[in-house]
């Protein structure tokens, strides 16, 4: 065998190895159990959206379900990943994000015995009636929690300038930003939100510079909703000693004296609930949980409880109660409303 062939083979092996890193399967012999596969758009280590979903999957594994996952699934590779798990006999395949919706619409009809779940709203132009019976969507009202976070920020800011670092330009990110701005405008009309959509969930250096730019413009609170990118935003806020509102998980640990609260979606629970829904036969269609269902919420204020004025806390509780009773409907706005010249 000549040396070129050897290299080619070596490279092929390397390539295969590097691709399989990050997908793992755990085998369980109890064949009757539901097999669950999770496709993540980003890295497990983002401390938010993906990490939380992974925690849900691990909770299922502890209950004896057979689970598998693939992380950082590129948009171009989603359909293939769905096909792959479906043909391997998985019963539930979760695509964790809006970008999984379109491929799921194409793949689901080919595997009527497999359940597909997308943690995101339906693709544009798809109505509820068109959803295949083995496919479920979740239009999480994450923006309701973002609205609550906006009330906190509006009440805390001294400079009346708030920086908001968003991730990729997807509906949930835009509606979070818009709901946040709506709350700030309602509770503190003098305050201005400096919003930056970074276009990525995976570039902390960019998030750091985005937050620095906002701080240099006078922002005294940094809000992030951008997973790994947001990690950089938090770092910039720590360096400048300004308050932070986290996202995806209770991020208080990252800076106990600066993280006011975090707005969170219960991804771990959501994924476990899908298995229950399959078992009770209620799976499928469009499901829109929010603050009222307890799926989206604000983290506790921890150390900073004393910093937040009672009136602000009362406003948050009032808004929560109004959402529950239906007296307040947080608008779902899927465009930028913060871009008006000062």
């Amino acid at each position: 065998m000549n040396i070129r062939k050897l290299i080619t083979i070596l490279l092929a092996v390397l390539l295969t190895l590097s691709l399989t890193v990050g997908s793992a399967g755990a085998t369980d012999t109890s064949a009757a159990k539901t097999k669950v596969a999770l496709l993540l758009p980003g890295s497990l280590n983002d401390g938010g959206w993906n990490a939380n979903a992974y925690a849900g999957l691990m909770a299922l594994k502890d209950k004896g379900y057979e689970v598998a996952f693939t992380e950082s699934v590129a948009i171009s590779a989603i359909e293939e990943a769905f096909n792959n798990y479906a043909s391997q006999g998985y019963n539930l395949i979760v695509g964790h994000g809006f970008e999984f919706g379109e491929p799921a619409m194409r793949v689901a009809p080919q595997y009527p015995d497999v359940k597909f779940f997308v943690s995101g709203k339906m693709p544009d132009g798809v109505s509820v009636e068109e959803i295949p019976s083995n496919l479920g969507f979740m239009d999480m009202k994450e923006y309701e929690a973002a609205y609550l976070a906006g009330i906190v920020a509006a009440g805390i800011t001294k400079t009346n300038k708030i920086g908001y670092v968003a991730g990729m330009e997807i509906p949930s990110q835009l509606s979070n930003l818009a709901a946040f701005v709506t709350a700030v405008n309602t509770y503190n009309p003098d305050a201005k939100v400096y919003g930056i959509v970074t276009g990525t969930f995976e570039d902390p250096a960019k998030g750091q510079e985005a937050a620095k730019a906002q701080i240099e413009l006078g922002a005294d609170i940094i809000v992030q909703s951008a997973d790994s990118t947001g990690m950089g935003a938090i770092e910039a806020a720590i360096a400048a000693n300004v308050y932070i509102i986290g996202y995806g998980a209770d991020q208080n640990e990252l800076a106990p004296d600066l993280v006011l609260t975090s707005f969170i979606t219960k991804n771990a629970e959501v994924i476990q609930m899908q298995v229950e829904r399959i078992e009770n036969g209620t799976f499928g269609g469009l499901w829109s949980p929010g603050v009222a269902e307890g799926i989206c919420y604000l983290a506790p204020y921890h150390n900073l409880d004393s910093v937040i004025p009672e009136a602000v806390k009362a406003n948050v509780e009032k808004a929560k109660a109004d959402i529950l009773s239906g007296a307040l409907v947080v608008p779902a706005i899927y465009e930028r409303i913060d871009q008006i010249l000062p």
């Binding site: 590097s18 280590n45 959509v197 960019k206 871009q339």
Partner: protein, 315 residues
């Protein structure tokens, strides 16, 4: 709107532009060496990522900036040596090896990060002395220039020296002449007694070292953490900047700063709410780079033997 024309806005913009240019500048300067010697080093991204990862791990456990930097540089060199071994000694195709190694490094770093630190919502931090920016007394107080040039990381000054030295080495020394000769016409160089294998290995080592250093800027200088794929395609931007800079370190410096400043401007214009579509803002740095490349393009000055394998004739 008036805020855009204020001095503070301009100063913070330029300072941020310099920071954002740093990792790209270091890697692109390294790539000039590699490409001048004929090596199409698509693996630049991987070398940066490896540097970022290894420097973080070493910094986290030893708390030493010096050791962390050294480890990051060494990691970049070793990754570059893998590429060199495959492409120079074993004559594999540069692009194929480069892309494969990039994927390998991405998997390798993500995997070993998890082994070392697990999956957590509060990732570990390496607070090393000398991370972030340092204001130089007096000098940093100079209006306008002070905050831009004298409130930067120490690596910024190192990078300026590296650019100057790189230009001198490539264009004014015998060694540089050999590098260029090997990149233009390896057979002629060999006939004149230049060991092209040695020259290409050394050029790749220099490239790996600078790419690794660029990676350390991301992990231990600015973020103090490592996250998967922290380089986020900056290695590929650097590849474009090398073409933009016509394989000349000074022009590469200009290209990197241009890209950094436009990216910083994009963030600021979005933040103050300039009422233009922000999709346009997001692509601004990339679009402007292409526009400038189109208008400055003259005769292509790419090394003639770039990406070409050279096999010695053995009698």
């Amino acid at each position: 709107m008036s805020v855009i024309f204020s001095e503070v806005f301009l100063v913070t913009l330029l300072a941020a532009g310099v920071r954002m240019a740093m990792p790209i500048l270091l890697a692109a300067t390294g790539e000039v060496f590699a490409e001048r010697s004929g090596m199409l080093n698509i693996n630049l991204e991987g070398q940066m990522l490896m540097g970022a990862f290894v420097s973080f791990v070493v910094g986290y456990y030893t708390h030493s900036m010096v050791l962390a930097l050294a480890a990051g540089i060494l990691a970049g060199v070793l990754t570059a040596m893998l590429m060199s071994l495959a492409c120079i000694t074993w004559h594999a195709q540069h692009t194929v090896v480069g892309i494969t190694l990039n994927m390998f490094v991405l998997g390798f770093t993500s995997f070993w990060y998890r082994v070392a630190f697990g999956i957590t919502t509060s990732p570990p931090k390496a607070d090393l002395a000398g991370s972030g920016t340092q204001a130089i007394p007096l000098l940093s107080k100079i209006p306008l220039l002070g905050p831009v040039l004298f409130n930067q990381s120490f690596l910024f000054y190192a990078a300026l020296i590296i650019v100057a030295v790189s230009y001198f080495v490539i264009f004014k020394t015998r060694f540089g002449l050999k590098i260029r000769a090997v990149g233009e016409y390896p057979r002629a160089a060999e006939t004149m007694g230049v060991n092209q294998i040695k020259i290409r290995y050394i050029s790749m080592a220099i490239c790996g070292a600078l790419a690794g250093l660029g990676g350390t800027f991301l992990s231990i200088i600015s973020l103090n953490r490592f996250v998967d794929n922290i380089t986020a395609s900056r290695g590929f931007i650097a590849l474009a900047i090398v073409i933009f800079g016509k394989w000349n370190p000074w022009l590469v410096l200009c290209g990197s700063l241009f890209f950094g400043i436009v990216d910083a401007l994009q963030l600021r214009l979005q933040a103050i709410g300039l009422n233009v579509p922000y999709h346009l803002m997001l692509m601004l740095p990339y679009a402007l780079t292409i526009v400038v490349m189109v208008f400055t393009a003259g005769k292509s000055e790419s090394p003639a033997a770039l990406g070409q394998d050279y096999e010695r004739e053995v009698l």
